[in-house]
């Protein structure tokens, strides 16, 4: 008799557990807080404005590759002032990701590089102290100058590193850290 009681208690406990934990609510959708959908680099030299844009509608989780557009070719022997803008357009209104980077300017840095025979050099025109009251003189790279020389074509690479070594020698290898963004553009200087 005692045994039967014990077993019944066991079974009932089990059933209670099972029935308690059932619920049929639908889960809530999650939107990736860290998503960057749009990278826009605006290069301005007087009236000459060149826009480089990469739009990744579904982020790193999604299968769609970024759509890359370059508004026009760069002019030779010209200095452009450049501005980088990052947006999360999956939210409405679009979220300005630049703000987050500015708030943590000491933990971020853009690296810009002309490769494969592309004749250009870049210099940073901003520093952490532009964004942070207690910031240092280390560059961040939201704004920069881009100087072209002879006509050529090649790759222009933009990389955003999180927690790089700061200061660094300007190369990705020396800087280390985590890649938040990495995008290349095929450019022509004419």
């Amino acid at each position: 008799m005692k045994n039967i009681k014990f077993i019944s208690a066991l079974v009932i406990t089990g059933i209670l557990f099972i029935s308690c934990s059932s619920d049929d609510d639908n889960p809530v959708p999650i939107n990736d807080e860290e998503l960057i959908t749009t990278l826009t680099i605006t290069l301005t030299s007087g009236n000459d404005v060149v826009t480089l844009k990469s739009y990744d509608e579904d982020g790193a989780d999604g299968p769609t590759a970024p759509a890359i557009t370059v508004s026009k070719n760069l002019s030779a022997n010209t200095t452009y002032s450049g501005v980088i803008s990052l947006l999360n357009e999956s939210e409405n209104p679009a979220e300005n990701v630049n703000e987050e980077i500015e708030e943590e300017a000491d933990e971020h840095q853009f690296f810009l590089e002309g490769r494969n025979g592309l004749n250009l050099t870049t210099t940073y025109t901003d520093k952490e102290s532009d964004y942070l009251t207690s910031g240092s003189e280390n560059p961040v790279g939201i704004t920069f100058d881009l100087t072209t020389t002879d006509a050529s074509s090649g790759i222009f690479t933009v990389t955003l590193r999180h927690m790089p070594k700061k200061p660094n020698d300007g190369t990705l290898t020396d800087a280390g850290g985590d890649t938040d963004l990495s995008q290349s553009f095929d450019l022509t200087i004419e």
Binding site: L39, I155, H162, D178, T179, S182
Partner: protein, 789 residues
């Protein structure tokens, strides 16, 4: 006074007689040579199990009734009232909790390949993990993420294909992930048996790889209080483990056991550098109490396991370019000073396990056992994220809750056969917390399982034993999962599964996949003993395994691995046909076993790198789950030789080859062949001194899937991603020495010193996921103190 008392008693008429039979409780056979002890006298039963005790006084006597291999019983009888009494003794020992496990004993099945490791070996691994200890078994290797996350591989198979039975409970701890190690404190184990295959049907029908059965210490039904404390310190990682257990037993069957473990290590070191962020902080407790009587018993068991594990800092990579850079660099890009601190990326896993069990024995029939168990597994994975605030929130936050009821009846009354029949009901709920702000890799789901089995053992004669079994399992999984609309279309689900969509939430579909699986498993085999020392085993096992949630539903970026993992809703269950044999010889000086096997798996689910996907963050390798017919062929062999009283050697070799049947493509993560040789010197009267040197040689795994060519956004060209290139062969040397001291009366202190990787060899292991980033562990000195009290 005392003498007077005796005289007074003798003065009474001590002419009482008691008689009866001592009987085996299970099958009712009379027990010959059973003993009855009272007042320092011992009477034995005759061949009919009968006894007669004469010249007893008319008072109460305490009789102790014993028989070989039985628990003794003490019965008090008042001779004024009783003159005839039959005693029932439990002659067969129950497999689950009372079998004394020794090294060579095979006890979970009669015909399949098995191996058990006992207390001595487990103690050596007190500061390591379950997966490390299991590698002592020939044919068992491990899939590692660093030194602390160790998943067992049995004859080439891992993850959901291996069942881990912890104290009678099948672990439900998200075994689907490659970087998810079993949540078991090895210090809770009294012995561990590995069944290499699916033949142990009572534990589950889906053990295509095998079953790991972890059993606790047995509390004898005696008045005892036993304690043990093991303290281990290691220089590599500059930490150690302390583990203590006590167990209290009573003659009336009551027992109480408690155990606790604390383990703390900082960053471990490779020969040339510190492996930053590889610390571990592990806590475990377990308690159990109950009554283990002759005819019935119950027990309650609870254990809690908490593990915080750092993941090698340099293994956190941003994208495929970073991975290529890491592979080419050969040195970790992050080497920091030693610390005990565990930073992101890290895992925090807790596991609660509770169990209630009741059993009752029926005279001349068998034993009925019913059990309810509860498990809650909680997993957090913290990543390097964009902001300080986000880094405090885990990227993966899963809670897996499981309730299981099992009941089985074991018919063991007949001497020539045993039958075991049982049922299982299980409910499981997974909850993925949306607070992570990262898309769920594993969705919310509910899972229902039901199973029924019948197994039997037939002793044809003393030399030949047959065993067979059949099992049916029903699995249903009911998930609520969000898919990005672009992914849904890319997978082709919009044509095949459009009926699963239940809600449109902008860029994502909410879907309700509900799948059912019917799995049949069966086994048959025999064991034949001949020429006294030889044993031949042959077993065939059919097993079916339903896909796990990861294989079905994964979709998206797995941040900690920097890879996109894709499940497939079309995946069906896999079916394995395994034929295994073993031939062994056992004698005092010479023991060997050779065990070949072949495992054909239809619709085997494999996860391989296939391509890359581009995003603004760069390119990520895509690992896709797909199905293929495969075969695994292998052999495990070991040899133990006792050259004389002082010197012993042991040797083992294992080899497994896994290929896809269609195109002979090698399978991923198949262990390379390895040879292990060990020489031991033992002299009992030098305080039980023993010392050994062990050599382990791991061949290069030459059979790996092809590397993939990927587009590197940084270089704007296709590059070769050497993701499957195996590391070179390597050789490791280990040494170990132990002595024992008696302490006070019944206590004992054992001191052990071990050196792992004596030569401080630089090596990388093909089965370590961190091989792309850093060398494996360097030399490690371990000092171990064991107190028995």
């Amino acid at each position: 006074m005392f003498l007077l008392g005796i005289r007074f008693l003798s003065a009474q008429e001590c002419d009482k007689t008691i008689s009866g039979t001592i009987i085996d409780f299970h099958d009712g056979t009379p027990l010959e040579e059973a003993t009855i002890t009272y007042n320092n006298k011992t009477i034995k039963t005759d061949q009919n199990g009968s006894y007669v005790i004469k010249d007893l006084c008319p008072t109460s006597y305490a009789f102790t009734i014993s028989h070989e291999n039985c628990n003794s019983q003490v019965v008090t009888i008042n001779l004024n009232k009783i003159s005839k009494k039959d005693f029932y003794l439990e002659h067969h020992l129950s497999e689950l909790e009372e079998v004394k496990v020794s090294g060579a004993k095979h006890n979970k099945t009669s015909s399949s390949q098995e191996e058990t490791i006992g207390q001595n070996i487990l103690e050596k691994y007190s500061s390591a993990s379950l997966g490390d200890a299991l590698r002592e078994i020939t044919g068992v290797s491990s899939l590692n993420t660093g030194a602390t996350i160790v998943k067992p591989i049995i004859q080439g198979l891992n993850g959901s294909r291996i069942l881990i039975i912890n104290n009678g409970v099948r672990m439900q701890d998200m075994e689907w992930g490659e970087e998810h190690a079993p949540n078991v404190d090895i210090n809770t184990a009294g012995s561990i048996t590995v069944v290499k295959g699916a033949a142990a049907l009572r534990y589950g029908g889906d053990a295509i790889g095998g079953v790991v059965v972890i059993e606790p210490h047995i509390s004898p039904a005696k008045d005892t209080l036993i304690g043990k404390t093991i303290i281990t310190g290691a220089n590599n990682g500059r930490g150690g483990t302390i583990s203590s257990k006590i167990s209290k037993g009573h003659e009336n069957g009551w027992f109480f056991k408690a155990q606790g473990t604390l383990k703390r290590f900082g960053d471990v070191e490779a020969p040339d550098y510190i492996l930053s962020n590889t610390g571990i902080f592990e806590k475990g407790i377990s308690i159990s109490l109950g009554v283990n009587k002759f005819t019935h018993g119950w027990d309650a068991y609870y254990s809690f396991f908490d593990n915080e594990i750092g993941v090698l800092a340099t293994s956190h990579i941003g994208n495929v370019d970073d991975l290529i850079e890491s592979i080419n660099n050969r040195e970790p890009s992050i080497i920091r000073d030693f610390t005990y601190n565990i930073n992101n990326p890290k895992q925090e896993v807790t596991h609660h396990l509770g169990r209630l069990r009741y059993f009752k024995r029926f005279e001349k029939l068998g034993k009925w056992t019913t059990q309810y168990d509860f498990q809650r597994n909680k997993r957090f994975e913290f990543d390097i994220r964009q902001s300080e605030e986000l880094r405090k929130i885990p990227s993966i936050d899963l809670e897996l809750t499981t309730h299981t009821i099992t009941s089985d009846f074991k018919l063991d009354a007949k001497s020539d056969y045993t039958l075991d029949a049982g049922i299982l009901m299980r409910y499981q709920d997974n909850f993925a917390d949306p607070e992570t702000d990262v898309k769920r890799l594993i969705p919310d789901y509910k899972k229902y399982d039901a199973g029924i089995f019948l197994t039997g053992i037939y002793n044809f004669n003393d030399a030949l034993i047959f065993d067979a079994g059949i099992r049916y399992d029903y699995n249903q999984i009911d998930a609520k999962k969000f898919y990005q609309k672009t992914r849904w279309s890319e997978r082709g689900y919009d044509t095949d599964f459009s009926n699963l969509i239940i809600e449109d939430s902008g860029t994502q579909w909410l879907t309700n996949p509900k799948f059912e699986y019917h799995n049949t498993s069966a086994t048959a085999g025999f064991q034949y003993s001949f020429k006294e020392q030889y044993e031949l085993r042959f077993n065939y096992a059919l097993a079916q395994r339903a896909p796990n949630p990861s294989e079905l539903f994964s979709d998206g970026l797995h941040h900690s691995a920097a890879r996109i993992e894709l499940g497939d809703l079309r995946i069906k269950q896999e079916t394995s046909h395994k034929i295994a044999m073993s031939l062994q010889k056992n004698d005092e000086h010479w023991r060997w076993e050779i065990a070949p096997y072949i495992n054909f798996i239809n619709n085997y689910i494999l996860l391989n790198p296939t391509s890359v996907e581009l995003s603004l963050r760069g390119a990520f390798p895509v690992w896709e789950n797909r199905q293929a017919d495969v075969r695994l062929l292998g052999v495990d062999a070991n040899l133990y030789a006792k050259w004389n009283d002082l010197w012993k050697t042991s040797h083992s070799f294992s080899l497994v080859k896994g290929k896809e049947a269609k195109n002979d493509t090698p399978l991923i993560n198949i262990p390379a062949p390895n040879i292990d040789n060990k020489i031991t010197f033992e002299k009992e009267n030098w305080l039980g001194f023993n010392a050994s040197i062990e050599s382990q040689y791991f061949f290069k795994q030459n059979e790996v899937p092809a590397n993939i060519e990927v587009f590197s956004p940084r270089l704007q060209q296709d590059v070769f991603l050497e993701i499957n290139t195996p590391p070179d062969a390597y050789h490791l040397l280990h040494a170990d020495a132990n002595i024992k001291f008696p302490l006070w009366e019944q206590n004992q202190l054992k001191i052990g010193l071990a050196v792992k990787n004596v030569l401080n060899t630089n090596y990388r292991n093909y089965l370590n996921r961190q091989r792309y980033f850093a060398d494996d562990l360097g030399r490690n000195f371990l000092l171990k103190l064991t107190f028995n009290y």
